[in-house]
Amino acid sequence: MKNSNLLKKEVGNEIKSAKDLRELDQIFNKYLGKKGEITLILKGLKDTPKEERAKVGKEANLFKNFIEKEIKGKKENIRFAGAVAEDAGWIDITIPGRKPFIGHLHPLTQTKRKFEEIFQSMGFSVIEGPEIENEFYNFEALNIPVHHPARSTFCLSLCRTFYLKGGNLLRSHTSPVQIRYMEKHHPPLRIIVPGRIFRNEATDAKHEFNFYHIEGLMVDKSVSIANFKAILQEFLNKFFQKTIKMRLRPTYFPFTEPSFEVDIECVICGGKGCSTCLGSGWIEMMGAGMVHPNVFKNVGLNPKDWQGFAFGMGMDRFAMMKYKINDIRFFYAGDLRFLRQF
């Protein structure tokens, strides 16, 4: 047997200079084929004197491993070189990519999901209710006097209601679902109610006659204004993905006492004042308050036992803020140039 190092070098060179896979096969056969040099040595081991057998065997095996490794490496080189050769030519990587055609979810669907995700993470269940309602659920049970002739001054735009022939009405807020839910479920409870609502108002960039509300209700033994502030702050921060400044102002709703309006610092201008916030730096985002004792009574709960907060906000408004949409009517116009942006 030749000096093994010398042999390694020689075989190594042979492999390196091989031009194609066929030549590589020949080299393989020469050494490791059925009658290859190394194969023969390994086969002949049994005739080798005992004292040399271990040494020769070890060397032959090392050599075998060496050849196999070199050939494998060279094979990959050849294949890779071949591939380059076949596809020769460059690509203009600035040519626009071909996009697969996919559809789009409405921005309000995406906003609704965001609301649901955030509130569910805080233990609120998502509940829905009918869009056709009656006066009891839409007004009376919520402590809004129905038969009072001056009611419109006390229930504000809520009373711009669409009535249906036959006496029912289209809900003007999602609050009826509070009543429906509390009639059937005993506190403690935490729910949000997203849904479509209707108001008999002329449309403009800020008003639609059907739009979306999301209602929230939490009732337990000692739910407080401080709790409301904490839950709401958490929601706002998560929704806008930054710390949002908010403030509560007193207001009047028949179904909550105390009642407040919630303003947030304008997310468009950061509170400096712009056209969205009409220069005030604040935007009115929702109405809220502590559930009025009469509302508890109306669903058969003892107001002495329970405290809760409720809030209601326009989903469209949040979507407009989030996506910087300046006209609410885009949502219901079915214009694909708008919808395909989401």
């Binding site: 789009h104 869009e131 056709i132 006390f154 209707f198 006659f209 000692s222 204004i225 007193p250």
Partner: protein
């Protein structure tokens, strides 16, 4: 409502904060101030007084009281010192009779003689003007001024024009008329409350005065009226006559009946002083049921619990006193609060807590995370399936639209829907009915988009309405000749929703139905699962498309989403992948044109049995080379066993069985 800053300042010795600052303080603790505007050397504040606070705050003195409480200032009550003329008694000069004490809760009157009617001093004109009122003469102006100051509407009559020297408060008789101070004539009915003399109406109670007893430059003796009318009566009359005034606005919201006296004394003192009149002795006062202050027991622990902050007893008492609520301690943590009769909005402990919270300041309430039982939210399955469905359709290239819940009368005439719900007060005839189907508005979307976007694939998931009730529907629409793409969409959707065994049933409309049918005859199908109908698939009738000015075809499917979500299932069973090879054999069948693909598939499946893993239709051909009325259908049949490699003998045997089964029908011919 607009207020004068200088007027507000006049109630205080101490300087008020600057207008902008005052506006901010009011906004955060009382009412939103929507505008601050400089007017000469004064400022106008536009304050959105909350409707429940109208009784005590539709007045400068009311807002000043609010400022006093917020700023902890001492307020000065306007003077109402009267020097009465001892020689004349008011009740000798005029008689008052109130016929309905539910409609008129109080009627106070005074008589002033020897007045000199003339123009008002400049300061008075300016204050009225900033509040949007025109100056008329000193008497009328003082009545209006006092209303703006106190919130109590007042009226002055020329006593010598009152027939019979008697004022009666009564409901109008049908057909009675009045010429009002605005120059208009109003026809009255028996729901309208009047102030009348022996002969005829002098004023519409609480709303507008009449010409008859108008103050003019010759007026010498006046009767001042300061009354309290039932808000419901005034509101009804005002609506009926379509007449809203500063007085009616205040009465509609309710006013404290105790206010009439101080207000009439105030206006009398002003007139006596400036119009040099002599106030006759005595107040004529009809007040059968005096309103007394209410008392509320307030548990201080409840105050802390509802607000979620520790507010000291001292602070609570201080806030209440600043607002004019007297209170006394009953026992530990319990006080009794006396509510001023002005505060018609306060009747419950919660009302008092709101007062405490807003004056304490909502910004001072520190955020506290609620402590609540850890109950995981309940999964809403309807929303879950809705989300899932929307995602699947989106992935298949459909865009979601939201349309109005209404359709027009014109649209309904096109479709001739039955059992519609009509609106009593639609916004316009474009939105006269609740939508009984999502299709009309989706067609409008196609019509609108077709010029801009070539391929339209849209869907909506929303409520539809019929007399039977509301229901959630899923409707998908695409333009073009794509019936089978729509059908494939349904198959894939159902598959992803875990609903097996969807099939399509032929649908024959009755001749009557077909006239107005939405769908093209014989190019539509009922979508069924087991025996239950879930919806409809088909091409929309060209007659309808024409009405919407849509070019080309539109394919749609319409699914009852309530049923769909009930059938949906998250369970999905894995079918083992056979490790044995599959063999594919093709077969082509020449059949009469009206044979359904399903019929052939069924034959193949039945004859082939378990070893036929799948059958794929890959070609349908109808052409000149074929005999008249025939079509050629070509299928791939995939043979595979789960436990062994099928031998070619085995496969041939089954294949032959399939062929002979297909050829049992003499009209069917398998082309080998």
């Amino acid at each position: 409502m607009v207020f004068s800053y200088n007027w507000l300042q006049s109630f205080f010795k101490k300087k008020l904060p600057k207008p902008e600052k005052l506006a901010e303080i009011l906004t955060m603790a009382s009412f939103e101030v929507s505008k601050v505007e400089k007017r000469g050397n004064d400022f106008l504040l536009d304050i959105d007084v909350l409707p429940n606070r109208a009784p005590d705050c539709f007045s400068h003195f009311g807002i000043a009281r609010e400022c006093a409480a917020l700023l902890n200032y001492k307020i000065q009550t306007p003077s109402a010192k009267l020097k009465e003329d001892k020689n004349k008694r008011a009740r000798d000069l005029i008689k008052i009779e109130v016929k309905d004490k539910v409609a008129c809760l109080r009627y106070s009157a005074r008589v002033i003689s020897e007045v000199k009617v003339g123009s008002s001093p400049k300061w008075l004109k300016e204050r009225l003007e900033i509040c949007g009122l025109q100056s008329i003469n000193n008497i009328v102006d003082f009545a209006n001024y006092t209303m703006l100051e106190t919130g109590q509407p007042l009226h002055a009559f020329d006593a010598e024009k009152i027939a019979g020297g008697k004022i009666t408060v009564r409901f109008a008789r049908k057909g009675e008329k009045i010429s009002a101070l605005d120059g208009k004539k109003y026809e009255l009915d028996n729901n309208i409350l009047l102030i009348a003399d022996r002969k005829e109406p002098l004023a519409i109670a609480g709303i507008k005065g009449g010409k008859k007893a108008e103050i003019d430059k010759n007026t010498k003796i006046i009767v001042l009226e300061s009354a309290n009318f039932n808000p419901i009566v005034i509101s009804k009359s005002s609506k009926k006559l379509n007449l809203r005034t500063d007085a009616s606005l205040r009465f509609e919201h309710g006013i404290d009946p105790n206010l009439t006296e101080s207000a009439i004394n105030r206006v009398a003192s002003l007139i006596a002083e400036i119009a040099k009149g002599k106030v006759a002795k005595g107040l004529i006062d009809f007040y059968p049921k005096k309103v007394l202050p209410q008392k509320i027991k307030l548990d201080l622990k409840y105050v802390d619990s509802l607000i979620g902050a520790k507010i000291s007893e001292k602070e609570i008492k201080n806030i209440l006193e600043r607002l004019g609520f007297k209170n006394k301690k009953i026992k530990t943590q319990l006080i009794e609060v006396t509510v001023p009769t002005l505060r018609l909005d306060v009747s419950l402990p919660e009302d008092l807590i709101e007062e405490i919270a807003r004056i304490h300041g909502y910004k001072n309430v520190v955020l506290i995370s609620p402590i609540a039982t850890l109950i995981p939210p309940v999964k809403n399955l309807e929303i879950f399936w809705e989300d899932m469905t929307k995602n699947i359709l989106k992935d298949m290239g459909f865009s979601e639209v939201y349309n109005y819940s209404f359709i027009s009368k014109k649209e309904n005439d096109i479709f001739n829907f039955k059992n519609l719900i009509e609106l009593e007060n639609p916004l316009s005839s474009d939105y006269q009915y609740l939508r009984p189907s999502l299709i009309p508005n989706l067609l409008k979307n196609v019509s609108k988009n077709q010029k801009i976007v070539g391929e339209i694939k849209i869907f909506e998931l929303g409520k539809i309405f019929r007399k039977a009730g509301e229901k959630r529907m899923l409707t998908v629409l695409m333009n073009g000749d794509r019936f089978f793409e729509a059908k494939g969409t349904i198959d894939l959707l159902f598959n992803k929703l875990g609903i097996a065994k969807v099939w399509y049933d032929e649908f024959e409309a009755t001749p009557e139905e077909s006239k107005t049918s939405l769908w093209v005859q014989k190019r539509c199908a009922e979508i069924k699962v087991n025996q239950e109908e879930l919806g409809f698939l088909g091409e929309i009738s060209p007659k309808i498309l024409e009405k919407f000015k849509i070019v080309g075809k539109v394919v749609s499917f319409d699914l009852d989403f309530e049923k769909l979500s009930r059938l949906s299932s998250e369970e999905h069973e894995f079918r083992p992948i056979s490790s044995y090879p599959a063999a594919i054999q093709d077969i082509a069948v020449l059949v009469p044109g009206d044979v359904l693909v399903d019929e052939i598939l069924n034959k193949i499946q039945i004859a082939g049995g378990k070893l036929v893993r799948d059958v794929d239709l890959f070609d349908i051909y109808e052409g000149e080379e074929l005999p008249e009325g025939k079509k050629n259908l070509a299928f791939h049949i995939i043979y595979q066993a789960e436990d062994r490699t099928l031998s070619s003998d085995e496969i041939n045997k089954i294949h032959k069985k399939i062929i002979s089964s297909l050829e049992e029908n003499p009209e069917w011919q398998v082309r080998k």
